[in-house]
């Protein structure tokens, strides 16, 4: 075991897959001699050459479109969008094209590609460097969507994403990059896409979350343990497919569920989980299905108190859990 940060785990996963498979290439903005704005590809161009580590023009639609064409021709491209906020010009190539390659060719072609994008706020990123973009991709059949929270999960899931034969949107929370450390095995491992993980076992209430919020939920649960409240935390890790079985098993045990995400609430990932629990575990509930999520403003403001107001944090989670526990 080695202690790594999330960004180190991401870097190790890509380096190992680049070494393992010559068809893996990375393309994106400033990923070459700069090593990426978050240094995810630090040293890669020296190690693997300019042909496999491609600095692109600042033109996101073609970053994904070119990666898609290369994927359909047998390569395994990783396309990096520098900040998830810049992903919107790629929507046609991702949602309109990559997601439909296999279906629209009746299985003749497929697109083994990964679209990596650092997302999320709490980093003074303002409107254009803080967004959470998962909902639109998680809504799209044909895509897989992953949002890891820990170095272990980031490495194991990114390796799976690179080896996957379908397009995977890989959303790393940029706040976790250097904030979150954790043990990562030294030997080879992967984590299957579509499987959630119980990050903390408990019996009184289920909290379903992903990304940075996993860590805030753990903080809140730790505080509540001293009050005798036992919180079970499910880290979804994958948002398409979602591990519905894991959620249902936990809710059937605890009878209460709170869904927490940083992305805004309406028509977000939490809405889908709430609907699932209502449909499949209604008779097990002894409280309303609750969501704690980002507010309905168009994007995250820049000024500290305003940003603070936007972000979900452990205090807000703690009071939501208390509210539901006492229902």
């Amino acid at each position: 075991m080695t202690i790594l940060t999330v960004i180190e785990a991401v870097r190790d996963a890509m380096r190992e897959e680049m070494v393992r498979d010559n068809n893996v290439l990375i393309m994106g903005e400033d990923i070459g001699s700069r090593g990426g704005v978050f240094l995810a590809t630090d040293g890669f161009q020296k190690e693997f050459g300019e042909e496999r580590i491609i600095d692109t023009p600042l033109a996101e639609s073609s970053i994904v479109g070119i990666a898609l064409g290369a994927a359909m021709s047998g390569m395994r491209p990783i396309a990096e969008i520098e900040f998830a906020d810049f992903i919107w010009p790629t929507i046609n190539q991702v949602v309109g094209e990559a997601a439909r390659v296999r279906y629209g060719t009746n299985g003749k072609l497929h697109a083994p590609m990964v679209l990596r994008a650092p997302q999320g706020g709490g980093v003074r990123g303002g409107l254009y460097h803080s967004q959470s973009v998962e909902a639109i991709f998680a809504h799209t059949p044909g895509l897989k969507v992953v949002a890891p929270a820990t170095p272990f999960d980031a490495k194991g899931l990114l390796k799976s994403a690179i080896r996957d034969d379908d397009p995977v949107i890989f959303l790393e929370h940029k706040r976790t990059y250097r904030l979150v450390r954790g043990e990562v095995p030294d030997q080879e491992f992967t984590i299957p896409i579509g499987k959630g993980d119980v990050k903390r076992q408990g019996s009184d209430i289920t909290v379903v979350t992903y990304g940075l919020m996993v860590h805030h939920c753990i903080e809140a649960a730790t505080d509540l343990a001293s009050d005798g409240i036992s919180v079970e935390i499910i880290d979804l890790r994958s948002l398409r497919p979602i591990d519905f079985d894991l959620i249902l098993a936990s809710v059937k045990k605890t009878g209460k569920i709170l869904i927490v995400h940083e992305d805004n609430k309406i028509l977000g990932v939490g809405a889908e989980i709430a609907a699932l629990v209502s449909e499949k575990a209604f008779e097990y509930l002894d409280g309303p299905v609750m969501r704690l999520a980002g507010p309905e403003v168009p994007a995250m403001p820049f000024s500290p108190p305003l940003e603070e107001m936007y972000m979900v944090n452990s205090d807000k989670i703690l009071s939501s859990i208390k509210q539901l526990i006492t229902y």
């Binding site: 290439l25 042909e51 496999r52 491609i54 692109t56 023009p57 033109a59 639609s61 073609s62 994904v64 479109g65 070119i66 990666a67 898609l68 064409g69 290369a70 994927a71 359909m72 021709s73 047998g74 390569m75 491209p77 010009p89 046609n92 190539q93 309109g96 094209e97 439909r100 390659v101 296999r102 279906y103 629209g104 060719t105 009746n106 299985g107 003749k108 072609l109 497929h110 059949p141 044909g142 897989k144 996957d164 034969d165 379908d166």
Partner: protein, 331 residues
């Protein structure tokens, strides 16, 4: 994708010209039949290639069938036939029948992929396929192949952002790709002067540092020569080229369009004067490659092939609904 090497030497023999003519006759007859099937209520949508055939067939013959990669768009029926697809396969698509090879009749006709011929035609969103074609060329270069990618698009697509991004990237990396613009002067209903403030799509090449040529797309020999030269450049590592083939569109944008709202009969009459089929026919007659007897034979064969395909297509079943959920993910 298939990778069978059968290099073209750039020369056109009498036999080549005759076979190009046969393909053009077949394409025209098939296209006319498709339009008829639409008017009979049997084919939901048709985008005609009539007037574009010389650009399509001439370019295919300058490349290596089954080896080079063809990213096409919805008006490229003659590319598909010239590469080896059969009228039966095409009609199955237009009637949305079982056994349609490109998409299992999930997509609009002519859309999907045919790996044996390296045909890709995914999207209805114009210009979306240009960056994808550049990706195919990037893959070929990285694998050290001699494969050339040709991407066909209309004058309308040339105004889209993806067109700019694709050409820029292809030029930076000197990728083996041919940008082949079939300029019929109309983006659906909008004439060229309202699409761009320049006289020629090919002049845009200068902005990317690549060669751009404007050619008569109704003259199959000019098309063949320009495409062969571009392919040679690509194969020798000299990067992309832009070819603007000036073609004509004899029918509305699609079977759902009414071009009388934006084109005059006089303009269409003038366009028909340079019908690529008539031009090639006249050339073959004047050079003694074709006479009335041989031409009659070619016409009859084409008609029979189209009749036969229509019969098979009409008798074929629709796809089973059991296939509905297939091929969403690998597993």
């Amino acid at each position: 994708m298939a990778r069978k090497s059968k290099p073209s030497n750039g020369l056109l023999t009498d036999a080549d010209l005759k076979s190009m003519y046969e393909e053009m006759v077949l394409c025209r007859k098939l296209d006319e039949r498709l339009w008829m099937l639409n008017r009979q209520g049997k084919a939901a949508i048709v985008a005609s290639s009539q007037g574009h055939e010389a650009g399509q067939i001439g370019s295919v013959h300058a490349l290596n069938k089954g080896y080079d990669t063809f990213y096409i768009y919805y008006r490229d029926l003659a590319v598909m036939l010239s590469l080896g697809m059969t009228p039966t396969e095409i009609i199955r698509g237009f009637l949305a029948k079982e056994g349609e090879p490109l998409s299992g009749a999930r997509q609009f006709p002519t859309h999907g992929a045919y790996p044996e011929y390296n045909i890709v035609n995914l999207s209805n969103v114009v210009a979306t396929h240009l960056p994808q074609a550049v990706g195919a060329a990037l893959a070929a270069k990285m694998k050290g192949e001699q494969n050339v990618t040709i991407v066909y698009f209309g004058d309308g697509a040339s105004s889209a952002g993806d067109c700019h991004e694709a050409m820029n990237f292809a030029s930076i990396h000197q990728l083996p790709i041919i940008f082949f613009c079939e300029n019929n002067n109309y983006a659906i209903s909008v004439p060229m002067e309202k699409q761009m403030a320049i006289d020629s799509v090919s002049s845009r090449a200068e902005g990317y540092g690549i060669p751009g040529v404007e050619i008569d797309g109704c003259d199959i020999i000019s098309v063949h020569r320009a495409t062969f030269e571009a392919a040679q450049r690509a194969r020798s590592g000299k990067g992309p080229s832009l070819i603007e083939a000036r073609v004509e569109r004899y029918l509305p944008h699609t079977s759902d369009d009414d071009d009388s709202l934006y084109r005059t009969e006089k303009e269409l009459e003038k366009a028909r004067e340079r019908d690529p089929l008539k031009i090639l026919r006249a050339l073959l007659f004047s050079s003694g490659i074709l006479d009335e007897t041989v031409d009659g034979h070619i016409q009859r064969n084409a008609r029979e092939a189209v009749d036969n395909a229509t019969e098979i297509g009409e008798q074929a079943s629709f796809p089973s609904s059991d296939t509905f959920y297939e091929h969403i993910y690998a597993n």
